[in-house]
């Protein structure tokens, strides 16, 4: 109903409700994807919502709105990565660790998860965050990442092996 109001009438108040509802999971996704860069993750989240608003007419309702939103977010993130890599001699690690520490980002207690996620490639990180933190099914993740479910399974399998090794080293879950 909210989406229809936005799509047909451009109702900004209805879109406000959608932003309030989905801002936390989206920003959390970007915060973890960017390894704690709160400023960057908020910028990416804003860009995602703006794109969602301007392209809302293309949402058909065959998947959840959250899945569609994350799909846009995923594309926004990769567009950002492409632009950053085009800039010469800017190491990705350097960019990713900018943070003013707000919103719980990059504080000591979050360092473990960012350290763990750092072990993973971008696609593995995306898949593992959507699967284990956002509780999405592999078919939904495949729609977000625009790849076959089998590929998602492969990313998860590789990520699990790396994460398993990391957690074992850290002795996590063995108390």
């Amino acid at each position: 109903m909210l989406v229809t109001r936005v799509a047909v009438l451009g109702d900004k108040r209805a879109f406000d409700v959608l932003v309030l509802r989905y801002q936390s999971p989206l920003r959390r996704f970007f915060l973890n994807l960017t390894l704690g860069d709160a400023v960057l993750s908020d910028d990416l989240s804003q860009d995602t919502f703006i794109k969602a608003y301007t392209h809302i007419a293309s949402f058909r309702g065959s998947a959840r709105f959250s899945t569609w939103l994350l799909r846009i977010g995923y594309n926004v993130y990769y567009d950002h990565l492409r632009k950053e890599k085009e800039k010469e001699h800017v190491p990705l690690d350097h960019i990713l660790w900018k943070s003013d520490g707000k919103n719980g980002a990059n504080t000591d207690k979050n360092m473990d998860i960012y350290t763990a996620l750092r072990e993973l490639k971008e696609e593995e990180r995306t898949a593992v965050l959507l699967y284990y933190m956002e509780d999405m099914k592999q078919e939904q993740i495949a729609r977000v990442m625009d790849c076959p479910p089998g590929t998602v399974k492969t990313y998860l399998h590789r990520a699990k092996e790396k994460m398993g090794t990391f957690l074992k080293k850290d002795n996590y879950g063995n108390e």
Partner: protein
């Protein structure tokens, strides 16, 4: 099995690190960046479609004579008050409005398609 234990350990780890992020003015920032004019434009387009649809329902334009006849009687109007010229203009505007809306939907698909 080791795989299931690993899976459970990883899930527990991520769930323990799952945080709700407070809005803290974020949605306000998004609102300020939303493009303007979309609402007015869409109301305008929808109004054109509605006017055209109502006018044709009453006076017909390529509709079978019987239906426009019935509609005219119900509306209590004997003949189109504004003439064939305006009828044609309204027909054109309505077709343009519908085409514009359809094209906007098609052209906004790009990488958000198939949802």
């Amino acid at each position: 099995m080791e795989t299931n234990k690993n899976d459970g350990r990883i899930r527990d780890f991520f769930q323990a690190n799952k945080r709700d992020i407070p809005d803290n003015g974020f949605s306000g920032q998004v609102r300020r960046r939303l493009p303007t004019g979309t609402f007015r434009r869409r109301v305008f387009v929808m109004s054109l479609i509605l006017i055209g649809a109502v006018y044709f329902a009453i006076f017909g334009f390529g509709l079978p004579h019987g239906i426009s006849d019935i509609a005219s009687r119900v509306a209590g109007i004997q003949e189109p008050p504004l003439g064939l010229l305006l009828n044609s203009i309204l027909a054109t505007l309505s077709v343009l409005a519908v085409s514009y809306t359809v094209l906007e939907i098609i052209c906004s698909e790009d990488r958000t398609k198939s949802f």
